[in-house]
Amino acid sequence: MGLPEGAYQALANALGAENICDDPAVTSGYSYMWLIYSTHAQSGRYRPAAVVLPRSTQDVQTIIKIANRYKFNYIPVGTNLLPPTIPARADTIIIDPKRMDSIVEIDTQNMFAVVEPYVTYAQLQAEAMKHGLTITIAEAGAQVSVVANNMFQGMGGTGHKFGYNRGVLGCDWVLPNGDLLHIGSRGNTNADWFWGDCAGMNLKGLLRADSGHCGGMGMVTRMAVKLFPYPGPQTFPVKGANPNFEVDFPKDRFKLNLIKFPDRKKLIEAMYEVGHAEIAAAVHEEPASMVLSGASPSVEYFWQKYPDFMKQWRNVLSVTLIGFSSARQIAYEQKVLDAIVKELGGSFIDEGSELWAIGQDNIGEQIRTGLSNRLFRIAGDFFVIGGFGFDSIDQSYKMSEDYMWPLIEQGQKKGHFVPDDTHNDWLNSYQLGHYSETEPLIYFEHDLDAGASFINSYAQTVVEAVKRRMCTTWPLGPMNYISGPTMCNYHELVLKIKKAVDPRLTSNPDYPVPQEPPKG
């Protein structure tokens, strides 16, 4: 079943025939996913019934109102990286914002930018840097949509200083019933975009949660996002050519430290100490596989190096210092970091060493992220066994050790995942270590059995977490029925609110929570 009769014409009349398309050559492009399992299990089966290209908020309202009238489904997207952007039902259109790609405004004094949904991080950061400002960029890469990423997650390299889920200010949000809701200071026509909390009831609380609604709550058409001070050059200081980029930041304002600890517990202690000392801009445990795949010019290089590199690169903490104020700040913070490392028996990886040569790109990655596409080269597929659950640094460590790594080891035994015995994650500090999140990385072939092993293990992390009453992995769609009953039945409240704003259930209907629990 495609679109209901008359719907395509209504959309074509409203948007112009050139802004809607159902040619399979185009729609197929929206039905496949990097993650083989989701492609086969979910899409592939369904191309979108059409793709529409709105130019304005009003166009988006029109599309959503037509969808309500004719009763078909739609999914708003950014750059389509996330599996829930592929249709799971036939009568679904994609709202692709490719024509909504302007940076509307940059307020350099009050440190924000107003963007449309197709503006990427790379684009925005390049403009912001001209004004001594920057933004934290998701590890998904600088090529993703700023709006989509802030709607979904927004975990960036510099989250230790710039926070997580703290980036959104005023928004124009087309609700699933077609109404235009102004969030934050946009609610007062005489104010502008500078603030995200609403006057009266703070409906910003409905915009997302620890992760987003995957298009299940309408579409944000404009968003003001926070920018942050940046003391670097006006153009991102990159040298070399793909795949051998190098960054070259002024040393008196930017300093990368790669620190090895005798064990992972000491690394965790160091993260706490750095947080309590209120130093640094980026703090991550960096696993060997991630660092090496980011630095490898070819797949062959990776596989030649990996066995030995995995032995040497263990329990490494990457700490990037940024002198927001002056070189004095760097000098002081380095002194504090030196003391912490000494107290905990850590050692700095020497500049000039081979390990340093492989790891040195890390500073560029924190500021303009772009390596995640490279992670797919190792085996064809890549993801994390669990993650996107936020609590303390200790909790991240415990989640990782108690049930994530045991699941990885099971997958390795079955031959599904690439060998890795480091027990090192991409474990991240946010907001000076007030909270944290961890992602144990796995690499697997573009193969359905391995894909199933991944997705089942991922779901199993939710089961294991609620069994232990520990922080859960982000529960995708139906997985909310695993976590909800243990967690104050939040899924029922979410469903009630979804139904209230989306009475005909046309906005990516199975998200954030499907109406019915999964069968079996």
Binding site: Q109, N110, M111, G163, N165, R166, L175, D179, L181, G184, S185, G187, N188, D192, F194, W195, D197, C198, A199, G200, M201, N202, K204, G205, L206, L207, A209, D210, S211, F228, P229, Y272, H276, A277, E278, F324, S325, S326, Y332, K335, A339, G389, F390, S392, D394, Q395, Q431, L432, H434, V466, R469, M470, C471, M487, C488, H491, V494, K496, I497, A500
Partner: protein, 513 residues
Amino acid sequence: MADTVLAKVDYLKPLEDKPYSQVVTDRQNFSSQQKACLEKLLGAEHVCTDPAALDALSRDKSHEEAGRPCCILKPENLEKLCALVKYANETSLPLTPLSSGTHTYGNALVRMGGAAIDLSGWKHIENIDHRNRSARVQPGVTYGQLQEALAKEQLRALFPLLPRRDQSVLTSNLEAQPKLIPEFNYSEPVYTMEIVMPTGDIFRTGTAALGPPELNKSDMVGPWGPGFDWNRLYTRSQGTLGIVTWMNIMAEPLPSRQKLFFTASESLQVLVDFTYRVQRKWLGYDCFILNRTALALMLAQSMPGDYERLKKRLPAYIQIFCIGGLRRFPDERIAWQEADFLETARECGLAPQPGISQAPRAAAFFEQNLLRCWDGELYWKDRLKGASSDIFFVTTMNRTSRFVEAMHQEAIKVSVPTDDMGIYVQPIENGRACHLEFMLPYDPVDRYDCSRMRNLHGSASRRMYGLGALFTRAYGAWAEMVASGSAVQFQTAKMVKDVLDPKNIMNLGKLGL
């Protein structure tokens, strides 16, 4: 011609088919039965119907109309509170939760009938977690109490400007009162909370949802979700969406030493420009601007003599700025920040000082009071005339001068002396926005002054709104003002209220709902 049937009204017959004496008796019975039920539920000593106590709660320090609760309820624990809310659902008894001892902005008035739930007796600090920089507090915990406990752990509470002694820490955070430290990473300081929902069910936000604290194996510092950003939705909801029974909030490293600077200027704009620059460099802790009136209200040793003297001598505006040293190399931390701060001041043509020469008490006062409640009998804002009418909102610092000018014009229109108007500018999140507050002193027993001030409060609020003020804390008449400005927002808010409070019992009439 058809017979015209005249309406017959029997003025003597009671509306009900029973004598009026019976109606009165029934009403009395209803009240005493309700009381008996509540006493059975909560214990007689936790149900108060003393007329004097009810009268005392029927007014607050705002210009809002009075409203009297039918009783004041003090449930002893969570279980009783849930039972009470369930009972209120069954009997459509409206509930208004209170946590602080003094109520300022009308949001705790029982305006549409029903009971007040007084949680100011819930005074436990449930947990202090040094490692994860958090403190879990019940609604009745005050700043003084919390800071005393935190100091033992080398931690500090995030203080608003000189709070009242009986100010609840929980409601201060629930209402998002601005904090003295604009550090981005201290902003949005609520990790998790426990809420008795309007249905009587227990809900916990963030990782606290995983179970009651005694079973929960997380550290309960994950603030988002589950499902929505409940912390944000509940912040400033003024009790309309449920009752918060504890809150886990940020507690930050206590500086081992600190250094204060006072920067004076006759122009707010000059200090605003300076503050932008300092905040952009991510320097220091406490940072805020006061005008001479606000400063004199705090520092005066006598009223009105010393106040008037100070007001004459003090510079028009002062920025107060504090640098702190932490555990490792505290002096060096202070030194580099001081050097950068003073360099920035020089670039702006300003000269920060360790004190205020015209007010020698100032240095010691702020040295002691950035982590203290106001300890005078009369609250500092009320010292001049007995009460203060406040107008405050979120804006950006570059707009503050325009608001001040408009505020002066409004005051002059009703002959309120502008030099008695206190002004407080609190940068938020490294200066990307600010809280701007005007304090208008008036005499609460002088009816003329009250009515003049009520009018000024209304007209000036509308003027500020017209200039783009964001009344995030939409108290009293502000709620209607903002609701009428954004129909979809109001409609969506009502939808949320209907879903979460289907029987419509929680703090009726607040937020315009």
